[in-house]
């Protein structure tokens, strides 16, 4: 770090409003050259908005930005790129059907590579240089959809470096990596920072902020709470700054959980195809007992979605059998699964889990509309739909101004409550929950986790599919690791080690 030079980034009094939300409220933020600076905050604290302003994607309503002491303004992303700011988005900004090289030259212009024609050979040479220098091997001719998540992230980082960025912003970069991959990423980042480049590391995970950063700035509800040297603080203090109170997440009580040994779900040698018709699940064997939470850990894209969809009837299996409370289900028929007591919280909440333009009340009867009392002889009863909504909104404390508002207007946490209210009120025997807390703030996360534990306590078998290893360790009785469409192993929670799980998630053990 060179403290005598002007800071790499200075943001003063940044304010950004969205309809109904004050996302950034007078933010002052400073990052030094060669520093790894963590931007810590809950989901919705305003981290992404701030970084989108710094990359020219949003324009601030108020405030000014200085890079290396000089005022700048970015009317468009291109201007930020030209000023040397590069962003690695959490949801990668890569065109899936393009090659690595094509993604790197997209929109790019500099002296060596700006002609009208594409020059694949020149580009590939430069990519090879970069990947050697930062120890990030990648094949420039591979198409993005053929790469693993970890490799795709490398492409994202290379893309930013290819454009000669001096300031790199990484948004939740570890959210889809195995613990080992994350450690590798940290080393790459240190290598980059050592070249006097500046790194802004956005995260809501305290441990990794402690592990990688030099300084931390904490955001809460669009405001800066403070900036501290990482060496002078600890996770407890950071957590308090981030949330504004002490946080203790709901955790499963230790000890053997399954009182009832009745089997809620059994998968026997199940195989299924993915979206493109290629095999995505191979020979899956798994049991979930009544009252038990089985966690499925793994990096995204290793068959999680297919697994959930095969159990809930949304996807046909190509082999094997799915047995719910002792009876086999035919498969490929979601209605059959619903009638057999399988509830499902999909990872795609808005779009699959709820119909976005339909009202909260209608979404709460998305499955129950077929049965009395909601409908009789094919006719709906609006009054009963409304009472049902009022009742569930109160029981699950869903924050919506009225049952008639369209679901898309709710916050992520409230949408998830709508989903849980609907699925749990159907008195299921089995619940499949995919990434049930991703994108939720601390408060909502805790409520969702509490509800899952309570549901298991009532004897419902739960299959918890999550990329968040901490979440699985906090809630599950047993943990299965999914890699490349296969179960790499099942361990009891008390025997589980993060290291070992990480290796299994990477397919190494």
């Amino acid at each position: 770090m060179e403290a005598d030079k002007p800071p790499a980034v200075t943001m003063r009094g940044i304010t950004k409003r969205f309809p109904g939300v004050l996302a950034n409220d007078g933010i002052d933020f400073e990052v030094l050259r060669g520093e790894i600076h963590a931007l810590l905050g809950e989901n919705g604290a305003g981290k992404s908005t701030l970084s989108n302003i710094l990359t020219g994607l949003y324009r601030p309503d108020e405030g000014e930005i200085l890079l290396h002491g000089k005022p700048v303004s970015f009317p468009a992303p291109r201007d930020a790129i030209e000023a040397g700011v590069g962003m690695v988005h959490q949801h990668f900004r890569l065109a899936a059907s393009f090659t690595v090289a094509e993604n790197l030259v997209l929109g790019h212009r500099d002296a060596a590579d700006r002609g009208l024609l594409l020059e694949p050979r020149v580009v590939e040479g430069r990519i090879a240089d970069l990947s050697r220098r930062y120890r990030m091997p990648v094949n420039p001719r591979a198409r993005i959809w053929q790469l693993s998540v970890g490799e795709q992230q490398r492409v994202e980082i290379l893309k930013v470096l290819y454009r000669g960025a001096r300031i790199l912003i990484l948004d939740e970069p570890t959210s889809q990596l195995t613990p080992q991959e994350a450690e590798q990423l940290f080393q790459t980042l240190r290598l980059i920072a050592a070249e006097q480049r500046t790194i802004i590391f956005i995260s809501h995970k305290l441990e990794e902020v402690m592990a990688v950063s030099n300084r931390v700035t904490v955001l809460r509800r669009g405001k800066v709470i403070g900036t501290v040297m990482t060496g002078n603080t600890n996770t407890r203090e950071l957590a308090r700054m981030m949330v504004g109170r002490e946080v203790v997440f709901t955790k499963k009580k230790e000890g053997p959980a399954q009182a009832e040994r009745q089997v809620a779900l059994e998968l026997r040698r199940v195989s299924a195809n993915g979206e493109l018709g290629t095999p995505a699940l191979h020979d899956i064997n798994l049991q979930v007992h009544a009252g038990e939470i089985v966690g499925v850990a793994g990096v995204a894209g290793n068959g999680q979605r297919e697994l959930a969809e095969v159990i809930t009837g949304l996807r046909r299996r190509t082999a094997g059998s799915v047995i719910v409370t002792g009876r086999q289900i035919r498969g490929g028929d979601p209605l059959e699964a619903i009638r057999r007591g399988v509830a499902y919280i999909p990872d795609d909440r808005l779009g699959t889990g709820v119909a976005p333009s339909l009202s909260v009340a209608e979404n709460l009867v998305l499955k129950a509309f077929r049965r009395p009392p909601i409908s009789t002889q094919g006719l709906l009863h609006p009054g009963r739909i409304r009472t049902n909504a009022v009742d569930l909104m109160q029981r699950f404390s869903i924050g919506a101004s009225s049952p008639q508002v369209p679901a898309r207007q709710l916050s992520g946490g409230n949408i998830q409550k709508v989903l849980l209210a609907r699925e749990l009120s159907s008195r299921p025997l089995l619940l499949v929950a995919s990434s049930p807390t991703s994108g939720l703030d601390v408060g909502a996360t805790d409520i969702v986790r509490g509800l899952l534990l309570e549901t298991a306590g009532r004897g419902v078998g739960i299959l918890l599919i999550s990329e968040d290893l901490d979440e699985i360790l906090a809630l599950a009785d047993r943990i299965a690791v999914l890699y490349d469409g296969r179960i790499r192993g099942v361990v009891e929670r008390q025997d589980a080690h993060v290291e070992e799980l990480g290796l299994m998630m990477a397919g190494a053990a």
């Binding site: 309809p19 290396h68 303004s73 809930t312 699959t352 889990g353 998305l366 094919g378």
Partner: protein, 374 residues
């Protein structure tokens, strides 16, 4: 600088203001086109309004034109609500006319009590069957229904032409020498003429009354039945519908058939209320099916609004037909309909978004400076 922001709630008053504003804006824009081509916009508009709504007997004629528009408008609304794009109301209307005239000819010596319901049912069945073709292809082979339903419009038109002009079909009049040389369809008997309701000197055709009943039924289906609920979920998100265990394929076929049935009634009413003969040229020139899309969009797919909009656009079309000539060139009605739809689409933005004129944030008004440039 202009900024477009999503409104948190739909602005209610705009739901009425947008269609009304669209009509006015389209009138203005068409005035420019008229003036550019050497016509007097105000005079043309005055005659249009006079012939469409004000002149002696104009409203009765307008209702005759509004009847098929009401039914094809409902047909489009029924399908579009579920995001199923049935563009085939045109052909489904032809088929409805073929079916209804066929039955009408067959039952020519029966009483109206039998013959009229039979014609309506025939229109429903043939229209629904024709619409079910793109429906089945959409549901079971994922074939784009926009193109298939549209292609079938041309086929339906050719089918009618064949029946009257190039064959000795059941529909063709072969009883006289002139009819054999100058092909035309068999005229239906008087007992196949649909009645009309006289109201304040305006004759409201039976088909229009059927259309009003259909509008109410459509509203009921979409807001009060399981079927309609499922269709709305599918229209909003196919993924959510699949997730909720809704059988989307059957529903697509059913809604397409429903849509086709409504257009088919439109075809039947053209025969029963107005033409009393299968008239391929007349039906094809009217292009009620395409105009139905305009009606539905302007009514924002609300069945009751379709009734009102159908009367408004019916007046325009009616005036257009009767005024057609050197000073009122053909094509003006379609141009006008297109303009109305453009304006309605632009106005839709106002319903969902707020447009704000803001000054650029002051501190950022400086020219962009590149890092390292100085």
């Amino acid at each position: 600088m202009i900024r477009i922001e999503r409104r948190l709630t739909e602005a209610r008053w705009l739901v009425v203001a947008v269609p009304a504003g669209s009509l006015l804006a389209a009138a203005f824009l068409s005035g420019i086109i008229l003036a550019l081509t050497g016509h007097d916009p105000i005079g043309t508009w005055a005659r249009l309004l006079d012939r469409g709504f004000l002149a002696e007997g104009a409203m009765s004629a307008t209702f005759v034109t509004a009847t098929p528009l009401l039914l094809t408008g409902l047909a489009a609304a029924a399908a579009f609500r579920m995001q199923t794009w049935n563009i085939g109301a045109e052909g489904q209307l032809y088929l409805g006319a073929v079916g209804a005239s066929g039955i009408g000819i067959a039952l020519h010596d029966q009483s109206p009590v039998l013959i009229i319901p039979a014609m309506v049912i025939a229109g429903i069945v043939t229209g629904a069957a024709w619409a079910a073709i793109p429906g089945v292809l959409r549901a079971y082979t994922r074939t784009n229904e926009i193109i298939t339903s549209l292609m079938l419009n041309y086929v339906a038109g050719l089918l009618m032409t064949y029946l009257i002009f190039d064959s000795h079909s059941y529909w063709r009049d072969l009883s006289t020498f002139t009819a054999r040389v100058f092909p035309q369809g068999k005229y239906l008997s008087d007992s196949a003429s649909w009645p009309s309701l006289g109201l304040a000197g305006i004759a409201i055709p039976f088909g229009f009354l059927l259309g009003m009943v259909a509008a109410a039924a459509l509203w009921l289906i979409y807001s009060r039945t399981r079927f309609g609920f499922e269709a709305r979920v599918i229209g909003d998100s196919r993924a959510a519908a699949h997730y909720a265990g809704i059988r989307t394929r059957r529903k697509i076929v059913a809604v397409m058939a429903l849509s086709g049935a409504l257009a088919g009634i439109g075809g039947a009413s053209e025969i029963g209320d107005f033409r009393h003969v299968l008239d391929p040229r007349g039906l094809q020139q009217a292009s009620f099916g395409y105009a139905g899309i305009v009606v539905a969009a302007l009514a924002r797919l609300n069945p009751f609004a379709v009734v009102i909009v159908a009367i408004l656009l019916g007046g325009l079309s009616n005036a257009g037909f009767s005024l057609q000539g050197a000073t009122f060139p053909a094509g003006l009605v379609g141009t006008l309909q297109g303009l109305i739809l453009f304006c309605a689409l632009a106005g839709e933005l106002l319903v969902h978004y707020r447009i704000r004129f803001v000054r650029r944030a002051a501190p950022l008004a400086r020219a962009p400076e590149k890092f390292g440039a100085a």
